[in-house]
């Protein structure tokens, strides 16, 4: 059975979801639960760290599409970071860079949230 798990770290207003293993139609509901848990707590500034994600199929990509609207409606965002080339290529093939901020590192994604916050204040 495919191994997949998520963990979440909160730093101030920003939550980072760490993905590990194989994200497919079987494991996508686990990631949906993770997003739902953050949204239930009104945490809408979300960074996703893909460093340890070995595999993603369209079922996994669909999870990001399912939550982005709700998150942005609440002045938040889902920023994607630290993808391997293999995982990035799939996002790229489906045109995701048009709609999502994708960063080389988690730190850059967090900094982008902080910059936006500064601009607003």
């Amino acid at each position: 059975m495919a191994e997949f798990n998520t963990s979440v770290t909160d730093k101030g207003e920003i939550s980072t979801i760490y993905l590990k293993g194989f994200l497919d139609a079987h494991t996508a509901p686990m990631l949906e639960n993770t997003f739902s848990g953050l949204i239930d707590k009104n945490r809408y500034s979300i960074v996703v760290n893909f460093k340890d994600l070995a595999y993603i199929s369209s079922a996994g990509l669909g999870v990001f599409m399912a939550f982005i609207e709700k998150v942005r409606d609440n002045q938040g965002d889902i920023k994607l970071s630290a993808m391997t080339d293999k995982v990035y290529n799939i996002f790229d093939l489906l045109g995701f860079p048009l709609l999502y901020d994708i960063f080389k590192s988690e730190e850059e994604a967090i900094n982008k949230f902080k910059e936006n916050k500064k601009l607003e204040s």
Partner: protein, 150 residues
């Protein structure tokens, strides 16, 4: 290329229509594509295309009923590696599903149809055969000499 016809260690997998079996399907394809000598990148693309085909079967043909059967048969002939995937679930007309306008899809947060788009993009050829009430077969092919070029 070390593969010749009928030399794959295992060329058939029959498996139940459960999403938890997708990892076994991926392992099966990974061993075969690796044995044939495809690059790591091309092997990854073939694995993803097969995963998408089987996910579509589980979702749409069997509508998540876990007792359906999916049969994967691997063939190598004339420098082409083909994976034939057959189910006995609900048939569908692939011609009725257009290539998605990706920008529009993403704007509308639509997910369905992306799997089929990936299959067509990642493989050299995708063919469907359907006899309603009997079986559906999708054949995914990759040229063996296109190693790493896609």
């Amino acid at each position: 290329m070390k593969a010749e016809k009928n030399k794959l260690a295992k060329n058939k997998l029959i498996i139940k229509s459960k999403t938890e079996n997708l990892s076994e399907i991926r392992d099966f394809i990974s061993s075969a594509a690796g044995y044939i000598g495809f690059s790591k990148e091309t092997t990854g693309n073939i694995i993803l295309a097969v995963d998408e085909a089987c996910t579509n079967i589980i979702k749409h043909a069997y509508q998540y009923s876990p007792d359906g059967e999916i049969t994967l048969i691997l063939k190598t002939a004339k420098d082409t590696f083909t994976i034939e995937i057959t189910d006995h679930g609900k048939s569908f007309e692939p011609g009725l599903i257009p290539n998605p306008d990706l920008k529009k899809y993403l704007d509308q947060r639509r997910v369905g149809g992306l799997g089929m788009y990936l299959m067509k993009t990642l493989m050299d050829e995708v063919k469907y055969k359907s006899v309603p009430g009997k079986f559906n077969t999708v054949s995914l092919s990759k040229h063996i000499n296109s190693n790493g070029s896609k």
